[in-house]
């Protein structure tokens, strides 16, 4: 009898739960699709002064989730931008959450699965296509008719659009340059084609026979150990004039440029580490940037050249900058006539989520945080190039490194954007390139694999 009672009760409860679960509607069905026109904004147009007397009907918290910041950025936002915004919008409190680039995807999927979360979220350069369907159409709030300032944003603005509609605003441009130690490099600097790069790698890499590990590495391209990061691959590919998609929208990994890029990555890796079977160890992690000097030991951190963003380079006050050149990646004009110098530009941005109930307020905050002066200040706290063209003054022109970076970005910048199913492409490419460097797959097999898997992923 006791067993019967237990089983009966538990059985009833489990059945009830299953029925409730089956009948419950997921959060997604209650949200409007991202591409429908938003309701008319209730705030005043942006080209009139912000009215002081506007009173929100009830207390509101505007939530912002940031990933691109330093302590100085947060301090400035909390002391300057947020108080002014809250004063102009009585009843509105701005709440900033300081997130991390580790685990961001898991965090964001939680927001979108629940249909609730921060109103404004910080996205990476290539994420407009990934999240586009779940982002708000902000044309009515941030378009030129509503905010004439928008025309001061350069090409970085394309990263903040989905299907031609604005979804937010870009914060900065952080391109990938080739930084080189002029005092350490043997040979022509910078190398002007693939053959020169291979020779440079052989001449400037040192392996210690006692430890079978690198003590000097000619080039650290994003990931030092594998030298097979997908972003490095894309940088080289674009420098050959490669297009990621064909005219019909299908992937273009079966192109000559893709094969040449893959072969180059393998050649560079082997010119540095030798064949995979040699099992040479990577450069030990040093203090600070790989092209800097360790203050404690006064020895170089080991890299002659670094292909990465400015945040991997030494900070601007370091004396090493006297011996560092900043160049684009020049491609291989000897073999590919369409080659061009390239800096792959990452334009991180702030987007407004479609689930946000305060899109108008979000737009107002963005306008406040992205004025000419504010965009300059935000980037000054991070040492990066402002996305607004008219914000590139002050620290940008005072620091010769940033000035050089800004010049190269405007001349040779190629946006890291418009990549369909970017998360899947990253996984597919990293898997295939990982097998390239261990020689499990040949370059031809690698590009064929990527082409097949990516085509499948886009279906």
């Amino acid at each position: 009898m006791k067993k019967h009672t237990i089983f009966s009760v538990l059985g009833l409860l489990v059945s009830a739960s299953l029925v409730l679960a089956a009948c419950a509607t997921p959060a997604a069905t209650t949200q409007a699709p991202a591409n429908t026109q938003p309701p008319a904004p209730t705030s005043a147009p942006a080209n009139t002064p912000v009215p002081e007397a506007t009173t929100a009907p009830e207390p509101v918290t505007l939530k912002i989730y940031l990933l691109d910041y330093t302590p100085d950025t947060i301090a400035w936002l909390k002391s300057d931008i947020n108080p002014a915004f809250e004063k102009a919008h009585p009843g509105v409190t701005v709440e900033i959450t300081e997130g991390s680039w580790t685990g961001w995807d898991t965090t964001f999927s939680g927001f979108f699965a629940a249909g609730d979360g921060p109103d404004i979220i910080n996205l990476g350069s290539e994420m407009n296509t990934l999240y586009g369907e779940s982002l708000a159409n902000m044309d009515e709030y941030l378009g030129e008719a509503a905010w004439p300032d928008i025309k001061n944003f350069g090409p970085a603005l394309e990263n903040a659009k989905y299907n031609g509609h604005l979804a937010g605003l870009p914060i900065f441009t952080a391109p990938r340059y080739v930084f080189c130690r002029t005092d350490l490099a043997k040979g022509t600097l910078p190398p002007q084609n693939f053959a020169d790069w291979i020779t440079f790698a052989k001449d400037n890499t040192v392996i210690d026979p006692a430890t079978n590990a690198l003590t000097q590495q000619a080039l650290q391209p994003v990931d030092a150990g594998s030298m097979a990061d997908w972003q490095w691959w894309l940088l080289v590919f674009y420098s050959l004039g490669g297009e990621l998609y064909k005219a019909d929208g299908s992937p273009n990994f079966d192109s000559p440029e893709a094969l040449a890029t893959t072969q180059f990555l393998l050649d560079m890796r082997q010119a540095t580490y030798g064949p995979a079977a040699d099992a040479v160890g990577a450069l030990p992690a040093g203090q600070g940037s790989p092209i800097d000097v360790n203050d404690a030991t006064s020895t170089d951190n080991g890299a002659v050249c670094l292909a990465h963003s400015g945040w991997a380079a030494p900070s601007f006050d370091r004396p090493i900058w006297d011996k560092v050149s900043i160049e684009p990646f020049y491609g291989d004009p000897a073999n590919f006539p369409n080659s061009k110098p390239v800096v792959l530009a990452f334009n991180d941005w702030l987007a407004v989520a479609d689930y946000s109930k305060h899109k108008d307020l979000a737009a107002e905050w963005l306008k406040a945080a992205f004025t000419k002066e504010a965009n300059n200040k935000w980037n000054e706290t991070m040492g990066l190039i402002p996305a607004r063209n008219d914000s590139q003054y002050g620290f940008v022109t005072e620091k010769p490194q940033l000035q050089r970076e800004a010049e190269l970005a405007s001349k040779y910048g190629v946006g890291f954007a418009g990549i369909e199913e970017s998360a899947k492409l990253s996984t597919i490419m990293q898997d295939a390139l990982g097998k390239l460097i261990t020689e499990e797959l040949t370059p031809e097999e690698v590009v064929a694999k990527i082409q097949a898997d990516y085509t499948d992923a886009l279906k």
Binding site: M1, F112, P284, T427
Partner: protein, 384 residues
């Protein structure tokens, strides 16, 4: 409702507590009603009510946080639900399962990797735990300190801070483990030969498993052709796909403290008279262990095997922390649960990820059922 986030949170927490109390009473009342329908006496009904009232908070939590999400997950596994699509899930039948079982080479590779960690890692973990337990069973000085030291990794767990320390220790060039290996190899040449032999065997075995994953054995051929490793070779722990899984096995062995305690309890339960009798009959230490202790430890081995198998089939954290920022190595070490995480939270395919989770559940259920079925053949519960 008042639009203050802090008061909101307090009200929601209070409402949750009230909800749990009300549901507990409702559940208890329901159980009493069912008991009454089944003809129970008043006393029995009262006892049923009281019993379910106290158990109800856990039952309610179990239903809300386990059963309901499982039901959602089962439903989504038959849909193409994508979190970022901003659209309702679309039922696609068994397409997710078909794709997983027959068309997804990535999932198959994750099964092979998980199999490696289970077939190689779990026996190593159990062996190390048993060895430590036998050592600790000797009554020596400082036994409690050693016991705590060996159990400390279990308390620390595979959290991020610990695993980041391991990343530094496993660094090929500057990591302390390789520095120790180099120092010992230089000081004791036989150790150097042993090191090279271990490297050779490990790389051959891993290259074989990678070949099974990829369907190509070119790496195995290259490793074989490279021959016996040179004298200056050290393991490339977190740098090479030939060593990425071994790093995880290393961590599994390091975290064997819980198993060690189970074995220690088992060794303490063996009657001393059996060892004394064996000693009188002339059995040496090894024979006493193998003929007396080991058979009587089989229930504890069985327990550790079941728990260890479930854990190794669900391994995730060490791989995530060690290799998440080293993407080219992920495919050589990706486990089934890492693959599930990647599909659900990196590619945002919740439907597909749900199908993976149910497949993993069925696999673990089958393996555990087989283990329980086979225990009669080798597990001895009798003392005499």
């Amino acid at each position: 409702m008042i639009r203050n986030p802090y008061i909101n949170v307090t009200l929601v927490a209070g409402a949750t507590v009230v909800f749990i109390i009300l549901v507990s009473f409702a559940l208890a009342a329901l159980s009493r009603f069912i008991a009454k329908l089944m003809g129970a006496t008043r006393t029995k009904q009262a006892n049923t009510f009281a019993g379910y009232l106290f158990a109800a908070p856990w039952i309610v939590g179990f239903l809300i946080f386990v059963v309901v999400p499982m039901a959602f997950s089962l439903y989504w596994s038959f849909t193409d639900y994508r979190v970022t699509a901003n659209a309702a899930p679309n039922v696609i039948g068994f397409d997710n399962y078909t794709r997983l079982l027959f068309n997804d080479s990535g999932f198959r590779a994750s099964i092979v990797n998980t199999l490696f960690l289970t077939v190689v890692g779990l026996p190593v973990q159990i062996a190390v735990a048993l060895f430590l337990a036998v050592l600790l069973n000797q009554k020596t000085r400082g036994e409690r300190i050693f016991r705590m030291a060996f159990y400390l990794p279990v308390i620390l767990g595979f959290n991020t801070a610990v695993l980041l320390c391991w990343r530094l220790m496993l660094n090929t060039g500057t990591g302390i483990i390789n520095q120790l290996i180099r120092a010992l190899s230089a000081a004791f040449p036989p150790f150097g030969y042993l090191n090279r032999a271990v490297i050779f065997v490990v790389e051959i075995v891993n290259a074989f498993f990678l070949g099974i994953s990829n369907g190509k054995f070119s790496l195995l051929i290259k490793v074989w052709e490279a021959g016996f490793p040179a004298a200056n070779r050290v393991p490339l722990w977190v740098q090479s796909p030939l060593w990425s899984k071994m790093s995880v096995v290393f961590l599994m062995a390091w975290g064997c403290g819980a198993m060690m305690l189970i074995f220690l309890a088992g060794l303490n339960n063996i009657p001393k008279e059996l060892h004394e009798a064996a000693e009188v009959d002339g059995a040496n230490g090894w024979k006493r262990f193998w003929m007396v202790s080991f058979p009587l430890l089989t229930p504890y081995i069985f327990y550790n095997l079941v728990i260890g198998l479930i854990n190794s089939l669900q391994i995730f954290e060490p791989i995530y922390v060690l290799y998440r920022d080293n993407q080219p190595l992920v495919s050589s070490t990706i486990s089934m649960v890492y693959y599930l995480w990647q599909a659900s939270f990196s590619h945002f395919e919740i439907g597909y990820g749900s199908a993976i989770s149910w497949l993993i559940f069925v696999m673990i259920l089958l393996v555990t059922a087989i283990q329980f079925k086979m225990q009669d053949r080798w597990v001895t519960y009798d003392l005499y």
